[in-house]
């Protein structure tokens, strides 16, 4: 008889992840160096070009001016950002929750899927911010719910479509395995379909996080509370205060990245097993 030792070659042990190997962090930081260098270079070129060609501030403010304005306006724009972020996150949570519920319903009753999916795909390819004035009319122009519902509608479709995909695109053998141990539909849903849909769901979440910030800010361009970031941007732009507008855009950008990053962290916690989480060696 063979024994354990020659059944588990050393190579297989090598494959196992090695957490906290020294030098790993430094290596990772090193990878960002080109990006940071490029960023700084772009800023310098921008600054120099503005100086050299004497570009008017209302056309394109210098980075140094934007930075100074950013710091000066920070109390105002960070509050405005927070207000808008609340709308974005509120709408995101609302839209995603509904999307997941509907997706689960489609997996239970095929009639739901057949009825809903064609519309979902159609609506998914129409620009939903366009309905912002209508929502403002329904909920009141300063009511955050108006913006939340726009964001909710924007994120609903990609999340639902992806979740349905994840629930249905299940490996045939995995299903047969369930069938071979006489598992019921509910067990198959919980133990196979839902875990299988997680990667699909999270990729939809990540796309939607960006969409939700865009949706909130843009729908505020159509009017909204004075505390909102989109309103701030459009007002400052109307007054030719472009440095202020740019500073606010930086806030919007930071919010988008932060939202994305939070989802990335949640994804890692929820799916430590997923392909994208595997240690990359090169």
């Amino acid at each position: 008889m063979t024994n354990v030792a020659d059944l588990t070659p050393a190579v297989e042990r090598e494959l196992l992840p090695d957490r906290g190997r020294p030098g790993r962090l430094a290596q990772r930081l090193w990878r960002y160096v080109p990006a940071i260098a490029l960023f700084i270079m772009a800023l310098v070129v921008w600054e120099v070009v503005c100086d050299y060609f004497k570009i008017q501030t209302f056309l394109l403010p210098k980075p140094s001016l934007i930075a100074a304005t950013f710091i000066r306006e920070l109390p105002v724009i960070s509050l405005a950002g927070f207000f808008t972020l609340r709308e974005a996150v509120g709408g995101f949570v609302l839209g995603c929750t509904l999307a997941i519920v509907v997706a689960l319903a489609t997996s239970r009753w095929t009639i739901v899927s057949e009825g809903v999916m064609p519309f979902a795909i159609a609506v998914n390819s129409t620009p939903i911010v366009a309905v912002a004035p209508i929502m403002n009319n329904w909920f009141g122009i300063t009511n955050p719910v108006a913006k939340m519902s726009i964001v909710a509608v924007i994120v609903f479709f990609p999340v639902m479509i992806n979740m349905v995909r994840g629930l249905t695109q299940v490996n045939a053998n995995s299903l047969e395995l369930m069938r071979s141990c006489a598992a019921g539909d509910f067990t198959v849903l919980v133990k196979l379909r839902i875990p299988n849909s997680m990667p699909y769901l999270f990729s939809a979440f990540k796309v939607s996080s960006t969409l939700s910030i865009i949706g909130a800010v843009v729908s505020e361009y159509f009017g909204g509370s004075r505390d909102a970031l989109g309103v701030y941007i459009s007002q400052q732009a109307a007054l030719f205060h472009f440095a202020e507008a740019w500073a606010a855009i930086i806030i919007a950008c930071i919010m988008g990245i932060a939202f994305y990053a939070v989802l990335l962290i949640i994804e890692r916690l929820v799916m430590p097993w997923h392909v994208s989480m595997r240690a990359v060696e090169n």
Binding site: E176, M178, C181, A182, P195, M271, P272
Partner: protein
């Protein structure tokens, strides 16, 4: 052996696939044979002859167009509901999101075993396939051969009386494959399982089984059943014995006889 009641009994089974329109494909025609307790039966035949189809009929993953499949004296459907068999596919088909322990426990969870019993069984089964120290790993951290051993552990975790295997070692390299064959025989020796093993490798079929069912293609039918009376336990020496080569020749001739017949008709 014939005085025992069969674990699997296949009577006049045919399977026709409806391919849509007027296209129909007769995958199996008039299959008849029995499998007895403790048997290790290999289903052997050229690609497309319906080996997988036959195995899936036994497992009630599909149903026959005519004829009847009985498992443990009841219809295959009932046997599936009673969880009478474990299944191993060519791909290990482990769930990515479960650890190795989690994967082995999967059938037990489905069958509502209590938690401590599940864990104990999982440990025991992993020990059987010599992977006990990998319980907390995820499937992608294991090699193809190790994954396939986990799949075998999973299939045996609830002590089914029948193990259905569809080319379980087909995706492995020759050396790993021979090791896995030894492993499987040792596992089979330690449990009272009856095995149905699909393969298209003649040496594999002869080395492993107590009987080889030789099939022909289009429509798939049984052309011969060959008893493999090589001594057990089988070992690396078995592969070099003259009896082994004799049996291989016998099986090959059975396969070829059928080919010649097919060509002349």
């Amino acid at each position: 052996m014939t005085d025992q009641t069969p674990v699997v009994s296949i009577r006049d089974v045919s399977k026709v696939f409806d391919l849509g329109g007027n296209n129909r494909l007769q995958a199996l025609a008039n299959i008849n044979f029995d499998i007895f307790p403790g048997d290790f039966v290999a289903l052997l035949g050229p690609s497309g002859c319906g080996k997988s189809t036959l195995l899936r009929l036994i497992g009630d993953l599909i149903s026959p167009s005519s004829g009847a499949v009985q498992v443990n004296n009841k219809p295959a459907h009932q046997a599936r509901l009673d969880r009478d068999y474990g299944m191993v596919f060519q791909q290990a088909t482990l769930y990515d999101w479960r650890t190795i322990y989690g994967n082995v426990q999967l059938p037990l969870e489905v069958m509502n075993y209590p938690r401590d019993k599940r864990m104990a069984r999982a440990r025991e089964m992993l020990k059987l396939v010599q992977l006990e120290e990998f319980g907390r790993h995820f499937p992608w951290q294991l090699s193809g051969g190790m994954q396939q051993r986990v799949a075998i552990a999973r299939a045996l975790s609830f002590e089914p009386s029948l193990l259905l295997m569809d080319e379980p070692f087909g995706a492995l390299d020759e050396m790993t494959r021979e090791r896995m064959q030894m492993e499987l025989l040792s596992v089979w020796g330690q449990t009272n399982t009856t095995v149905v093993f699909v393969t298209h490798s003649i040496p594999e079929a002869v080395f492993l089984s107590s009987r080889v069912v030789v099939m022909s293609a289009r429509p798939g039918r049984v052309t011969g059943v060959i008893d493999i009376d090589l001594p057990r336990p089988r070992s690396f020496e078995t592969r070099e014995s003259p009896r082994f080569f004799q049996k291989i020749t016998e099986v090959r001739e059975c396969l070829r006889r059928d080919e010649v017949k097919g060509a002349s008709s």
